[in-house]
Every structure is written in structure tokens, then in C-alpha cells.
Symmetry: C2
Subunit: 147 residues, 2 copies
Amino acid sequence: MRLTKATDLALRVVMSLAAIDPEPSTARRIAEEMRVPYNHLAKVVARLQRLGVVETRRGRGGGLSLTDAGRTASVGRLVRELEGARDVVECEGDVPCPLRQACRLRSALRRAQEAFFASLDEVTLADLVASPTGPVLLGLSGRPPSG
Amino acid sequence: MRLTKATDLALRVVMSLAAIDPEPSTARRIAEEMRVPYNHLAKVVARLQRLGVVETRRGRGGGLSLTDAGRTASVGRLVRELEGARDVVECEGDVPCPLRQACRLRSALRRAQEAFFASLDEVTLADLVASPTGPVLLGLSGRPPSG
């Protein structure tokens, strides 16, 4: 099964920021690094701002960076918030499924989805930007590895 | 996140057949009960036949029914076979993700997907067609409840 493209991109944004943290970046810069259209990235950044995961500061040393909440959130929490309201199957579509009032499949899939999120609750952003991913992200951002 | 519509429909086909088992049905009848276009359903039935989950018998008492393998398969096994080859995120798209050679997110998501399937390994078709779902399926098929 599939995460939405928006969730996929949001995770890559927070990974990019985590790899260079506490140095800030910008939405435009990350759009170039990830090779996605700026307007797609800007929407995702706006969502992450509303969720309190990233913030933008103006002025010198400003730019886009993780908030403390964003830095410490588990990947599971991020994915729940980005994906969470969607059901694993679409019961109410153009033609609603006739089983939708009394469906054991839907509850079984909800439990399975919860197992999916719980697995990601164990994973932090620090885990995601450990080697080799962090160095690749640094390379894309044009910054040298530290130390 | 979302299962594909094809997987969703395939699960509803096997549920429909499990609810009336061992009595057979037909693809056309299930398409009407599920209110989906016949050609969509026929494709899904062909897939389930290739997977050895359903079979069609000709002649008197013939029609579409579960195989023994289909009857006893866990929902997890069915979903793995229907969804299994897809990754949870699309790394190789029109614009491949620059992280794809060294990505900790992809491996974290694979483990989470495995947790999703493992949760469904505990669920059988009998579980899915227990009350209230089985009686709803019987009602849709125009057959009276047994006993």
C-alpha cells in the first residue's frame, strides 16, 4: 500500500532539515535539492508549519528549520498526523460500498494500520538521517560533512 | 495510507464467496452485488484465479468459488500477494528521488509495512464474514441466512 505523495515529500523535507540542523534552509533550496516543483514543496511546508513541526524565521540566520517539537517527534507521530485521517480502503466513494455499515474488513485494516504506525513510533528523525542518508542529504545541500 | 482499489475489490470478492461457501457465485452476480463495473470485477477475478485463490467450474453446480487454498489463506497472505510488490513510497518516479541509493526512510517503511501485513496474518476469511458482515453479504446475494 502507499503513503500519499504529500506525506512522502513532507518526510523528505524534515529529513533534509534534520541533516543540517540547527542550520536553516529554505523551501526553494529544498525544492531544488529534491527536484520537485517549488509550489508542491511550499504546500507541504505550509502543512508542516500548521502541524508545528517546522518554522520560518526572518532576518539574519533565518530561514526554514525544525521546531523543538519537530526535532523530537517520532516518525510514527509525523506519519499519523500527515496520513492519519484517511482510511486504508475507501468505503464512501462515488459508489459507496454496500458493506460499509457492517464491515469486519475495515476494522481489521484499521488495526493493521495501527501496527504500521506503531512500528514507525520507534523511529526518530535522528535514525533517518544517520549514515548513509545524512551524508547524502548534506551532499545534496552543498554543505560539507561536519567533524 | 491506502490499499489499491484492485486489492480492495479482490478482498470483497473473496468475502462474498466465503459468505456463501461452498455454494458458487459468478463474477457478474458479484459485480451487481458490489455495484462495480463487470469489467473491473472480471480483471480482479482473473488475478485471484492466477493466485490460486478462486476457481471457475463449468456445468451444473458450477460457477465461481474459493479453492481450498483460498478458503484457508489468511487475509495477510492475500494482501501480501495482492499488494506485495509495491513499495510504500515511490522512489523511482518521473523524477527519481535523489536519496534512493541510501535511504533509511525506505527501510523503516518496509518494516512498518511488514507490521501491517503481520497484523493481517492473524485474520482469516471466516473472521471477515462473521456477523454482522456475513449476514449482510448473504442479504446482498439474495440468499437466506442458514440455520
